[in-house]
Symmetry: C2
Subunit: 205 residues, 2 copies
Protein backbone atom coordinates (compact mmCIF):
# COMPACT_ATOMS: atom_id res chain seq x y z
CA UNK A 1 0.00 0.00 0.00
CA UNK A 2 1.27 3.45 -0.92
CA UNK A 3 1.68 5.87 1.97
CA UNK A 4 -0.89 8.64 1.68
CA UNK A 5 0.50 12.08 0.91
CA UNK A 6 0.39 15.09 3.22
CA UNK A 7 -1.89 18.07 2.70
CA UNK A 8 -0.22 21.49 2.97
CA UNK A 9 -2.41 24.57 3.18
CA UNK A 10 -1.03 28.08 2.71
CA UNK A 11 -3.42 30.82 3.69
CA UNK A 12 -3.49 34.24 5.28
CA UNK A 13 -5.33 37.53 5.27
CA UNK A 14 -6.42 39.09 2.02
CA UNK A 15 -3.61 41.05 0.38
CA UNK A 16 -0.78 39.38 2.29
CA UNK A 17 0.78 38.00 -0.90
CA UNK A 18 -0.23 34.30 -0.77
CA UNK A 19 -0.36 34.05 -4.56
CA UNK A 20 3.08 35.62 -4.99
CA UNK A 21 4.66 33.28 -2.46
CA UNK A 22 2.93 30.24 -3.98
CA UNK A 23 4.10 31.23 -7.47
CA UNK A 24 7.66 31.67 -6.18
CA UNK A 25 7.52 28.17 -4.64
CA UNK A 26 6.34 26.59 -7.89
CA UNK A 27 8.74 28.60 -10.03
CA UNK A 28 11.33 26.40 -8.37
CA UNK A 29 10.96 23.32 -10.53
CA UNK A 30 12.19 20.65 -8.13
CA UNK A 31 9.27 20.42 -5.73
CA UNK A 32 8.26 17.04 -4.39
CA UNK A 33 4.70 18.19 -3.78
CA UNK A 34 1.87 18.98 -6.14
CA UNK A 35 0.00 22.25 -6.50
CA UNK A 36 -3.75 21.81 -6.47
CA UNK A 37 -5.31 24.08 -9.07
CA UNK A 38 -8.46 25.87 -7.93
CA UNK A 39 -11.76 25.76 -9.77
CA UNK A 40 -13.76 28.87 -10.56
CA UNK A 41 -16.85 30.03 -12.42
CA UNK A 42 -15.37 33.40 -13.31
CA UNK A 43 -14.29 33.95 -16.90
CA UNK A 44 -10.59 33.53 -17.74
CA UNK A 45 -8.65 36.79 -17.90
CA UNK A 46 -6.38 37.40 -20.89
CA UNK A 47 -3.42 35.04 -20.65
CA UNK A 48 -5.02 32.69 -18.12
CA UNK A 49 -5.02 29.04 -19.16
CA UNK A 50 -7.61 26.43 -18.18
CA UNK A 51 -5.97 23.70 -16.08
CA UNK A 52 -2.98 25.92 -15.30
CA UNK A 53 -4.28 29.05 -13.57
CA UNK A 54 -7.69 27.61 -12.75
CA UNK A 55 -10.12 25.00 -13.86
CA UNK A 56 -12.73 27.22 -15.50
CA UNK A 57 -16.21 25.72 -15.25
CA UNK A 58 -19.84 26.83 -15.54
CA UNK A 59 -21.88 27.84 -12.51
CA UNK A 60 -24.10 24.82 -13.15
CA UNK A 61 -21.14 22.43 -13.04
CA UNK A 62 -19.73 24.05 -9.89
CA UNK A 63 -23.08 23.89 -8.08
CA UNK A 64 -23.51 20.25 -9.08
CA UNK A 65 -20.10 19.52 -7.55
CA UNK A 66 -21.09 21.29 -4.33
CA UNK A 67 -24.29 19.21 -4.14
CA UNK A 68 -22.38 15.99 -4.75
CA UNK A 69 -19.78 16.78 -2.04
CA UNK A 70 -17.22 17.22 -4.78
CA UNK A 71 -15.54 20.33 -3.33
CA UNK A 72 -12.98 20.16 -0.51
CA UNK A 73 -13.70 23.85 0.15
CA UNK A 74 -15.37 26.68 -1.71
CA UNK A 75 -16.66 30.22 -1.41
CA UNK A 76 -18.60 32.70 -3.47
CA UNK A 77 -17.14 36.14 -4.16
CA UNK A 78 -18.99 38.73 -6.25
CA UNK A 79 -21.27 36.17 -7.93
CA UNK A 80 -18.43 33.78 -8.75
CA UNK A 81 -17.51 30.52 -7.08
CA UNK A 82 -13.93 29.62 -6.19
CA UNK A 83 -12.91 26.32 -4.65
CA UNK A 84 -10.79 23.18 -4.52
CA UNK A 85 -12.04 20.08 -6.34
CA UNK A 86 -11.95 17.13 -3.94
CA UNK A 87 -11.21 14.40 -6.50
CA UNK A 88 -7.90 15.89 -7.67
CA UNK A 89 -6.69 16.33 -4.07
CA UNK A 90 -7.80 12.84 -3.04
CA UNK A 91 -6.27 11.15 -6.09
CA UNK A 92 -2.94 12.93 -5.60
CA UNK A 93 -2.81 12.17 -1.86
CA UNK A 94 -3.72 8.53 -2.50
CA UNK A 95 -0.92 8.28 -5.06
CA UNK A 96 1.43 9.14 -2.17
CA UNK A 97 2.22 12.67 -3.28
CA UNK A 98 1.91 15.71 -1.02
CA UNK A 99 -0.61 18.35 -2.11
CA UNK A 100 -0.18 22.10 -1.72
CA UNK A 101 -3.23 24.38 -1.52
CA UNK A 102 -3.12 28.17 -1.53
CA UNK A 103 -6.54 29.36 -0.42
CA UNK A 104 -8.47 32.03 1.49
CA UNK A 105 -8.85 31.82 5.27
CA UNK A 106 -12.47 30.68 5.12
CA UNK A 107 -11.54 27.87 2.78
CA UNK A 108 -8.61 26.91 5.00
CA UNK A 109 -10.97 26.50 7.96
CA UNK A 110 -13.25 24.24 5.87
CA UNK A 111 -10.21 22.11 5.01
CA UNK A 112 -9.01 22.04 8.63
CA UNK A 113 -12.38 20.63 9.69
CA UNK A 114 -12.16 17.86 7.08
CA UNK A 115 -8.40 17.16 7.22
CA UNK A 116 -7.15 17.85 10.74
CA UNK A 117 -3.83 16.14 9.96
CA UNK A 118 -3.01 18.67 7.24
CA UNK A 119 -0.27 21.24 7.74
CA UNK A 120 -1.71 24.75 8.01
CA UNK A 121 0.61 27.67 7.35
CA UNK A 122 -0.52 31.24 7.98
CA UNK A 123 1.24 33.93 5.99
CA UNK A 124 1.57 37.06 8.14
CA UNK A 125 1.89 40.59 6.82
CA UNK A 126 5.12 42.36 7.83
CA UNK A 127 2.65 45.05 8.86
CA UNK A 128 2.57 43.52 12.32
CA UNK A 129 6.29 44.09 12.68
CA UNK A 130 5.96 47.64 11.38
CA UNK A 131 3.13 48.16 13.81
CA UNK A 132 5.38 47.18 16.68
CA UNK A 133 7.96 49.77 15.59
CA UNK A 134 5.22 52.35 15.32
CA UNK A 135 3.94 51.66 18.81
CA UNK A 136 7.47 51.81 20.16
CA UNK A 137 7.87 55.33 18.77
CA UNK A 138 4.52 56.37 20.25
CA UNK A 139 3.25 59.86 19.62
CA UNK A 140 4.56 60.12 16.08
CA UNK A 141 1.28 58.80 14.66
CA UNK A 142 -2.31 59.86 14.75
CA UNK A 143 -4.12 57.73 17.37
CA UNK A 144 -6.87 56.95 14.85
CA UNK A 145 -4.38 55.45 12.43
CA UNK A 146 -2.75 53.45 15.20
CA UNK A 147 -6.08 52.18 16.51
CA UNK A 148 -7.21 51.04 13.05
CA UNK A 149 -3.98 49.17 12.49
CA UNK A 150 -4.22 47.59 15.92
CA UNK A 151 -7.76 46.43 15.22
CA UNK A 152 -6.65 44.89 11.92
CA UNK A 153 -3.63 43.24 13.55
CA UNK A 154 -5.74 41.79 16.36
CA UNK A 155 -8.10 40.30 13.78
CA UNK A 156 -5.18 38.72 11.97
CA UNK A 157 -3.68 37.28 15.13
CA UNK A 158 -7.03 35.71 15.97
CA UNK A 159 -6.99 33.98 12.58
CA UNK A 160 -3.43 32.78 13.13
CA UNK A 161 -4.33 30.67 16.15
CA UNK A 162 -6.19 28.22 13.92
CA UNK A 163 -2.97 27.41 12.06
CA UNK A 164 0.10 25.33 12.86
CA UNK A 165 2.79 27.72 11.60
CA UNK A 166 3.12 31.46 11.06
CA UNK A 167 5.46 32.73 8.34
CA UNK A 168 6.10 36.46 7.92
CA UNK A 169 5.99 37.56 4.30
CA UNK A 170 8.73 40.17 4.60
CA UNK A 171 10.93 39.01 1.72
CA UNK A 172 9.25 36.50 -0.62
CA UNK A 173 12.39 34.31 -0.94
CA UNK A 174 12.61 34.04 2.87
CA UNK A 175 8.95 33.11 3.19
CA UNK A 176 9.44 30.43 0.49
CA UNK A 177 12.39 28.87 2.34
CA UNK A 178 10.51 28.87 5.63
CA UNK A 179 7.51 27.14 4.08
CA UNK A 180 9.80 24.52 2.55
CA UNK A 181 11.48 23.99 5.95
CA UNK A 182 8.04 23.37 7.43
CA UNK A 183 7.17 20.84 4.72
CA UNK A 184 10.44 18.92 5.14
CA UNK A 185 10.09 18.95 8.91
CA UNK A 186 6.43 17.86 8.97
CA UNK A 187 7.37 14.78 6.93
CA UNK A 188 9.45 13.67 9.93
CA UNK A 189 6.60 13.91 12.45
CA UNK A 190 6.28 10.74 14.47
CA UNK A 191 2.51 10.79 13.96
CA UNK A 192 3.13 10.66 10.19
CA UNK A 193 5.99 8.13 10.01
CA UNK A 194 4.88 5.83 12.82
CA UNK A 195 2.39 3.95 10.59
CA UNK A 196 5.29 3.21 8.18
CA UNK A 197 7.33 1.66 10.95
CA UNK A 198 4.38 -0.29 12.26
CA UNK A 199 3.59 -1.36 8.70
CA UNK A 200 7.17 -2.61 8.31
CA UNK A 201 6.68 -5.03 11.15
CA UNK A 202 3.29 -6.21 9.98
CA UNK A 203 1.34 -8.36 12.42
CA UNK A 204 4.34 -8.75 14.74
CA UNK A 205 3.98 -5.50 16.68
CA UNK B 1 11.23 41.09 28.02
CA UNK B 2 13.39 38.65 26.06
CA UNK B 3 11.54 35.80 24.40
CA UNK B 4 12.42 32.52 26.09
CA UNK B 5 14.44 30.09 23.98
CA UNK B 6 13.28 26.72 22.75
CA UNK B 7 14.50 23.41 24.16
CA UNK B 8 15.57 20.81 21.59
CA UNK B 9 16.15 17.24 22.73
CA UNK B 10 17.93 14.68 20.57
CA UNK B 11 17.64 11.15 21.82
CA UNK B 12 17.28 7.59 20.58
CA UNK B 13 18.18 4.01 21.38
CA UNK B 14 21.62 3.17 22.65
CA UNK B 15 24.15 2.79 19.84
CA UNK B 16 22.12 4.72 17.26
CA UNK B 17 24.83 7.38 16.89
CA UNK B 18 23.36 10.32 18.83
CA UNK B 19 26.79 11.58 19.84
CA UNK B 20 28.14 11.42 16.29
CA UNK B 21 25.16 13.35 14.91
CA UNK B 22 25.36 15.92 17.71
CA UNK B 23 29.09 16.43 17.10
CA UNK B 24 28.45 16.85 13.36
CA UNK B 25 25.83 19.52 14.14
CA UNK B 26 28.18 21.45 16.40
CA UNK B 27 31.16 21.05 14.06
CA UNK B 28 29.17 23.43 11.88
CA UNK B 29 30.12 26.68 13.54
CA UNK B 30 27.14 28.82 12.62
CA UNK B 31 24.47 27.39 14.89
CA UNK B 32 21.97 29.71 16.50
CA UNK B 33 21.37 27.31 19.37
CA UNK B 34 23.49 26.32 22.30
CA UNK B 35 24.71 22.84 23.23
CA UNK B 36 24.08 21.98 26.85
CA UNK B 37 27.08 20.16 28.25
CA UNK B 38 26.25 17.17 30.45
CA UNK B 39 27.53 16.70 33.96
CA UNK B 40 29.09 13.44 35.17
CA UNK B 41 30.84 11.90 38.12
CA UNK B 42 32.98 9.59 36.01
CA UNK B 43 36.64 10.48 35.61
CA UNK B 44 37.73 12.33 32.44
CA UNK B 45 39.20 10.10 29.76
CA UNK B 46 42.46 11.15 28.10
CA UNK B 47 41.80 14.20 25.95
CA UNK B 48 38.44 15.08 27.57
CA UNK B 49 38.20 18.64 28.81
CA UNK B 50 36.10 19.86 31.75
CA UNK B 51 33.42 22.28 30.51
CA UNK B 52 33.79 21.05 26.93
CA UNK B 53 33.07 17.32 26.89
CA UNK B 54 31.43 17.23 30.30
CA UNK B 55 31.31 19.08 33.55
CA UNK B 56 33.26 16.67 35.74
CA UNK B 57 32.11 16.79 39.36
CA UNK B 58 32.34 14.66 42.50
CA UNK B 59 29.58 12.21 43.45
CA UNK B 60 28.91 14.37 46.51
CA UNK B 61 28.36 17.49 44.39
CA UNK B 62 26.13 15.60 41.93
CA UNK B 63 23.99 14.14 44.72
CA UNK B 64 23.66 17.56 46.34
CA UNK B 65 22.38 18.90 43.01
CA UNK B 66 19.85 16.08 42.77
CA UNK B 67 18.60 16.82 46.29
CA UNK B 68 18.31 20.53 45.52
CA UNK B 69 16.37 19.94 42.29
CA UNK B 70 19.38 21.15 40.37
CA UNK B 71 19.25 18.51 37.62
CA UNK B 72 16.87 18.71 34.66
CA UNK B 73 17.41 14.97 34.16
CA UNK B 74 19.90 12.40 35.33
CA UNK B 75 20.64 8.70 35.47
CA UNK B 76 23.19 6.39 37.07
CA UNK B 77 25.15 3.97 34.89
CA UNK B 78 27.77 1.63 36.36
CA UNK B 79 28.20 3.64 39.57
CA UNK B 80 28.50 6.97 37.77
CA UNK B 81 25.94 9.74 37.46
CA UNK B 82 25.24 11.49 34.16
CA UNK B 83 22.81 14.36 33.78
CA UNK B 84 21.89 17.86 32.65
CA UNK B 85 22.41 20.75 35.08
CA UNK B 86 19.18 22.75 35.29
CA UNK B 87 20.77 26.18 35.91
CA UNK B 88 22.74 26.26 32.66
CA UNK B 89 19.67 25.26 30.61
CA UNK B 90 17.41 27.75 32.39
CA UNK B 91 19.88 30.64 32.11
CA UNK B 92 20.40 30.00 28.39
CA UNK B 93 16.66 29.70 27.67
CA UNK B 94 15.96 32.84 29.67
CA UNK B 95 18.60 34.73 27.68
CA UNK B 96 16.48 33.93 24.60
CA UNK B 97 18.76 31.32 23.13
CA UNK B 98 17.63 27.84 22.07
CA UNK B 99 19.23 24.93 23.93
CA UNK B 100 20.17 21.58 22.40
CA UNK B 101 20.38 18.46 24.57
CA UNK B 102 21.68 15.08 23.43
CA UNK B 103 20.64 12.56 26.03
CA UNK B 104 19.51 8.99 26.69
CA UNK B 105 15.87 7.99 26.29
CA UNK B 106 15.20 7.84 30.03
CA UNK B 107 16.56 11.35 30.43
CA UNK B 108 14.50 12.56 27.48
CA UNK B 109 11.33 11.32 29.16
CA UNK B 110 12.25 13.16 32.38
CA UNK B 111 12.70 16.35 30.32
CA UNK B 112 9.44 15.79 28.44
CA UNK B 113 7.57 15.64 31.75
CA UNK B 114 9.11 18.94 32.89
CA UNK B 115 9.20 20.79 29.52
CA UNK B 116 6.28 19.60 27.40
CA UNK B 117 6.83 22.48 24.94
CA UNK B 118 10.31 21.23 24.05
CA UNK B 119 11.03 19.68 20.66
CA UNK B 120 11.77 15.97 20.97
CA UNK B 121 13.65 14.30 18.13
CA UNK B 122 14.11 10.53 18.06
CA UNK B 123 17.07 9.25 16.09
CA UNK B 124 16.14 5.96 14.43
CA UNK B 125 18.59 3.26 13.44
CA UNK B 126 18.61 2.46 9.71
CA UNK B 127 18.23 -1.08 11.03
CA UNK B 128 14.48 -0.67 10.81
CA UNK B 129 14.75 -0.05 7.08
CA UNK B 130 17.10 -3.01 6.68
CA UNK B 131 14.65 -5.08 8.67
CA UNK B 132 11.92 -4.23 6.22
CA UNK B 133 14.09 -5.42 3.33
CA UNK B 134 14.87 -8.57 5.24
CA UNK B 135 11.24 -9.34 5.90
CA UNK B 136 10.42 -8.67 2.24
CA UNK B 137 12.93 -11.31 1.19
CA UNK B 138 11.51 -13.78 3.72
CA UNK B 139 13.12 -17.20 4.05
CA UNK B 140 16.65 -16.01 3.50
CA UNK B 141 17.20 -15.52 7.24
CA UNK B 142 17.07 -17.69 10.27
CA UNK B 143 13.71 -17.12 12.00
CA UNK B 144 15.50 -16.63 15.33
CA UNK B 145 17.55 -13.77 13.93
CA UNK B 146 14.46 -12.21 12.38
CA UNK B 147 12.46 -12.55 15.58
CA UNK B 148 15.17 -10.93 17.68
CA UNK B 149 15.44 -8.01 15.31
CA UNK B 150 11.67 -7.62 15.25
CA UNK B 151 11.53 -7.57 19.04
CA UNK B 152 14.25 -4.89 19.12
CA UNK B 153 12.52 -2.85 16.42
CA UNK B 154 9.16 -3.04 18.20
CA UNK B 155 10.81 -1.76 21.37
CA UNK B 156 12.32 1.14 19.46
CA UNK B 157 9.04 2.04 17.79
CA UNK B 158 7.36 2.10 21.18
CA UNK B 159 9.97 4.62 22.37
CA UNK B 160 9.46 6.72 19.24
CA UNK B 161 5.84 7.48 20.02
CA UNK B 162 6.90 9.69 22.94
CA UNK B 163 8.74 12.02 20.55
CA UNK B 164 7.66 14.69 18.07
CA UNK B 165 9.94 13.79 15.17
CA UNK B 166 11.74 10.68 13.93
CA UNK B 167 14.97 11.08 11.97
CA UNK B 168 16.69 8.07 10.43
CA UNK B 169 20.43 8.03 11.02
CA UNK B 170 21.33 6.52 7.65
CA UNK B 171 23.89 9.12 6.54
CA UNK B 172 25.06 11.47 9.31
CA UNK B 173 24.99 14.57 7.06
CA UNK B 174 21.37 13.82 6.11
CA UNK B 175 20.33 13.35 9.71
CA UNK B 176 22.02 16.67 10.60
CA UNK B 177 20.11 18.54 7.88
CA UNK B 178 16.80 16.99 8.92
CA UNK B 179 17.33 17.98 12.54
CA UNK B 180 18.15 21.54 11.46
CA UNK B 181 14.99 21.63 9.30
CA UNK B 182 13.00 20.63 12.37
CA UNK B 183 14.59 23.37 14.48
CA UNK B 184 13.94 26.07 11.87
CA UNK B 185 10.39 24.87 11.38
CA UNK B 186 9.54 24.63 15.08
CA UNK B 187 10.52 28.27 15.51
CA UNK B 188 7.59 29.12 13.24
CA UNK B 189 4.97 27.25 15.29
CA UNK B 190 1.99 29.44 16.03
CA UNK B 191 2.05 28.30 19.66
CA UNK B 192 5.61 29.66 19.93
CA UNK B 193 5.26 32.94 18.01
CA UNK B 194 1.73 33.86 19.06
CA UNK B 195 2.93 35.37 22.40
CA UNK B 196 5.25 37.67 20.41
CA UNK B 197 2.39 38.97 18.34
CA UNK B 198 0.15 39.39 21.35
CA UNK B 199 3.03 41.10 23.15
CA UNK B 200 3.39 43.51 20.23
CA UNK B 201 -0.14 44.71 20.72
CA UNK B 202 0.17 45.02 24.47
CA UNK B 203 -3.05 45.65 26.35
CA UNK B 204 -5.01 46.33 23.17
CA UNK B 205 -5.80 42.74 22.21
Amino acid sequence: MVKRGMLIVLSGPSGVGKGTVRKAIFDQKKNDFQYSISMTTRKPRPGEVDGVDYFFVSTEEFEKRIQNGGMLEYAKYVDNYYGTPLDYVEDTLNSGKDVFLEIEVNGAMQVRAKCPDGVFVFLTPPDLIELKQRLISRGTDDMDVINKRIAKAVGEIKMMQNYDYAVVNDVVANAVEKIKDVIRSERLRVTRVMPDYIGMLGENN
